[in-house]
Symmetry: C2
Subunit: 212 residues, 2 copies
Amino acid sequence: MKTLKIPEATIIRLSVYSRYLTQLDKKGITNISSGEIAEGVGGSPAQVRKDLAYFGEFGTRGVGYNVRDLNQHIIRILGLNKNWQVIIVGAGNLGSALTQYKGFRERGFDVIAVFDNDINKVGLTLNGIPIYPVSKLNEIVKKKQVDIGIIAVPAPYAQDVADAMVESGINAILNFAPVVISVPEEVELRNVDLAVNLEILTFNLELQKDKN
Amino acid sequence: MKTLKIPEATIIRLSVYSRYLTQLDKKGITNISSGEIAEGVGGSPAQVRKDLAYFGEFGTRGVGYNVRDLNQHIIRILGLNKNWQVIIVGAGNLGSALTQYKGFRERGFDVIAVFDNDINKVGLTLNGIPIYPVSKLNEIVKKKQVDIGIIAVPAPYAQDVADAMVESGINAILNFAPVVISVPEEVELRNVDLAVNLEILTFNLELQKDKN
């Protein structure tokens, strides 16, 4: 995946455009210009056009884009024109928060199982989703054809969980544990570091101070 | 802040470089090249040099960077050469997971209070952090000189919480609620949308499929 030429920032923005277009579509708005998209999401019209240009020609000069068509294009680009089966390993606070997270289902991500080794949790459900022991991971991933695994365990257990996921045939992993884990090259791995978000805020706060 | 010329992607990468340099420093490694940094974090040497060049001249040609010096520079750039006081509004699963999140304290973010309107939670502590009613937010933010507020409430309450934060003098907000909130221009706002991370994975999975 190192040869991917589309910047990740573009993918992130496409995801944001799509959310905005979904909102507009719900409101019954049918047409929009790149300037209006930019204004709605806090970007520049040139950036919007550049991001979309990676994927071909959309819209009509002087008329703009059809909201629903453009959104459907983006949804297809992002692979969201189907539902994805997701499992979460770790039934603690984070795993629990993630099972409740409405943003996943809205975008077609179905959390179908949670795994934990705490015998007090196994057999129960978390927001309606069954909790299994980690020893069942391989069986359930294969049976339910799960594509994506989310790691929500403490750092010392993250690599073992990743190994079990890879072993079971999962080919995309989202890791919330604050530790570097390694997976085979063909497995997509994304690390979420929540502190980075705070660091962008403090960077901007310091910048403001320097200006004043 | 719209005139900021340093790309956000650069800030995010600086944050990643700094974590890596901290690890190396702990291992007693004193010098590093841009190529080694790139390898350690999964980037290109040219990108590393370009990111650092925004902030002046670091390192010596042919010798590389002093690990500790470079890290201290980056830490200062990110505003992390001091501790930041943080509050969280919302003592549910997400708020609870965030109070436990070790990555915050490691980078100098001290969560000093949690707020919630559930009378069964007020007066208790969450991982050692006191839970107050939201009506106390203004008083505590002012008294403790809190800089950053984290919104971890359901979407319908997010705007009210943001308003209360702004009113109390908080000037940076991290919003986990999946809803667009508005704040005055001088307040730094960052929205965390966890589904975007999954969408980057599915984009890459689809791309792999197209290649095969």
